[in-house]
Amino acid sequence: MSAAREMLCDTARAVFADAQEGGIAPIETAGFGLLLVSEADGGFGGDWGDANAVLRIAGVAVPDLPVTDLILSGLAPVPDALRAAATVGLMAGAAGQALGLSIEHVNTRQQFGRPLGKFQAVQQSLAVLACEVAALDAAAAAMAARLDATGLDAEAADFEIAAAKLRANRAVGVVTAIAHQVHGAIGFTREYDLHRVTIPLMRWRSMHGSDAYWAERLGRQVAGLGGRGLWEALTARAE
């Protein structure tokens, strides 16, 4: 990550921590609405990679605040596909947090005289969870790269947005199920933080396009490309 993006993330972490008490106001005041506005227009001049990094933090720290709306407000007009793209960033952050909480829990919680993480059944489940998180991260990063290569043109990045939101949606079922299963009853309480990421994940899966919506849309696009054409398009779009 570049130094500028590191600084942006540090700021986001600090501001979002304040926003947990103060609502969206401190985030607005800190200027996150200008993140994607060009420097010439008085903005921060950030790219989608920056937005993705900030949204990952928002997905963990302030999942219930309209941070995506605020960040996208710098662009006009905002196609719904970009809202889907922004949601992928939130989902990547929340899924990573679900993994982190799960690792922490199984390494501390003792049963049968040893930490849960010593049991192969638990290890295998967490490996599956980690794979889904990796897939979501990679999808979010590749989508960001395409959006940045096309100057945030949602039409030109239609394949990547569809694929990334679909992949993120599909990860939700596995991530929430395994994270809750390895946590046991404590993860089902209001007091413990797991629901602060799993409920938003469930909500985001329904927002800006379900699995079926994006799958059919992407499937039609691919059908139009043909079998060989899919490979040619995949490689050309990333080069």
Binding site: Q124, V133, A134, D137
Partner: protein
């Protein structure tokens, strides 16, 4: 761990020109194979094709020129192999030598071994097999019992290897053997580079459930190989094998084995598929695109000189799941008879039968998940 480290895939030079050149070359030189041979094509042996590919400079690409290599960047090689796999080219003959044996000889081998073996590998003429599994050492590789005793004349090898893909068509085997008497588990192991025409070696076929002869069992009966067959450091075999497995697990072959079926499905669906079929194609396309990112990122980490053990395992786990699920999901949606003669039905049948092996070869799903769990800080 905390997450899969994402590395940007940024090969030097013009990779689209590299792709275009290879696509043009393939249009001229790829044999008009039966479509079923284009699936899982890194198991399709075609020495004539391998030689032509080597002559064109597409094998041993990363090796130094003095050993006949192309001195290209590892990510340029990645571009080439993903193109070969996506085209369904019959790359099986040279696959293992190019992917892991050559790089391992370059890294750990003696000057004599490099000069002796690498030029043949780069020409697509010298083929290698992997001597790891034994009857008592499958997932539990550290239970290897084949021994090599150092004598005045050289190493005397006794024991047995099994599930060795392509041994009957290969010239050399890179074998993991126990060189230290009384040693246990992963200590006391070494790698030997064995010419398979050495007296005392018996190779017997094992026919798989598809009726193919891909793997073999190999018996070593007092086989004498020279002292110079030792690769790398005596007793460091485990460490060297671990590095070799990193090369083996993360490549594009871990998600492109079933690609011929996906392409046939898309073509059979036509430009206006029924909704259920469109959904299936969309889901498969999204997963394939995601896997490509993961695999490219892992290749970039490897190329940066770092050890992507966990990342490679993630690619293998998700890739195997993808390419195993694909024929099952296609079967669930597409109406075609088991014995239908069209390409889609034949590919489907072949991959349904071949796919159980995908999460066995190169490390079972359970072993791979265990490696990921260790990377997460469990255990």
């Amino acid at each position: 761990m905390q997450g899969f480290a994402l590395y940007p895939f940024d090969p030097p030079g013009d990779s689209s020109a590299l792709r275009t050149g290879l696509r043009r070359w393939l249009a001229e030189h790829q044999p008009q194979d039966d479509v079923v041979r284009r699936a899982n094509c890194w198991a399709s042996f075609d020495p004539d094709f391998s030689r032509a590919l080597g002559a064109a400079g597409y094998i041993g690409m990363t090796l130094p020129a003095r050993y006949g290599g192309g001195e290209r960047h590892p990510l340029e090689r990645y571009v080439v192999i993903e193109e070969l796999l996506a085209a369904g080219a019959p790359v099986g003959a040279h696959w293992i030598a190019d992917r892991q044996t050559g790089p391992l000889i370059l890294r750990y081998g003696s000057e004599e071994q490099r000069e002796r073996y690498l030029p043949g590998i780069a020409r697509g003429e010298t083929y290698a097999c992997i001597g790891l599994s034994e009857p008592g050492a499958g997932s539990d590789l550290a239970s290897v019992r084949t021994t090599a005793r150092e004598t005045a004349e050289g190493w005397r090898i006794n024991g047995q290897k099994i599930w060795t893909t392509g041994a009957h068509l290969s010239h050399i085997m890179l074998a993991l053997v126990r060189t230290e008497e009384g040693s246990e588990r992963n200590a006391g192991l070494s790698q030997l580079l064995i010419d398979l025409d050495t007296p005392g070696i018996t190779i017997r076929p094992i026919i798989d459930m598809a009726g193919h002869h891909d793997f073999n069992e190999i018996f070593f009966d007092d086989v004498l190989v020279p002292h110079a067959a030792l690769v790398g450091e005596r007793g460091q075999g485990w460490k060297q094998v671990t590095a070799e497995l990193g090369l083996e697990r993360s490549g594009p072959e871990r998600y492109l084995s079933s690609h011929a079926l996906f392409a046939a499905l898309i073509d059979a669906a036509g430009p206006d598929p029924a909704p259920a079929l469109a959904v299936l194609i969309g889901e498969l396309a999204a997963e394939m695109w995601t896997l490509r990112q993961l695999s490219m990122s892992t290749a970039a980490k490897l190329a940066a000189g770092e050890d992507p053990m966990v990342e490679a395992s993630v690619v293998k786990e998700l890739g195997n799941a993808f390419e195993q699920e694909m024929p099952r999901r296609v079967q669930a949606v597409v109406e075609c008879g088991w014995d239908d003669p069209d390409d889609l039905a034949r590919l489907l049948r072949a991959l349904l039968i071949a796919s159980p092996s995908f999460s066995l070869r190169g490390g079972t799903r359970e072993v791979i998940r265990g490696i990921i769990a260790r990377g997460l800080g469990l255990r």
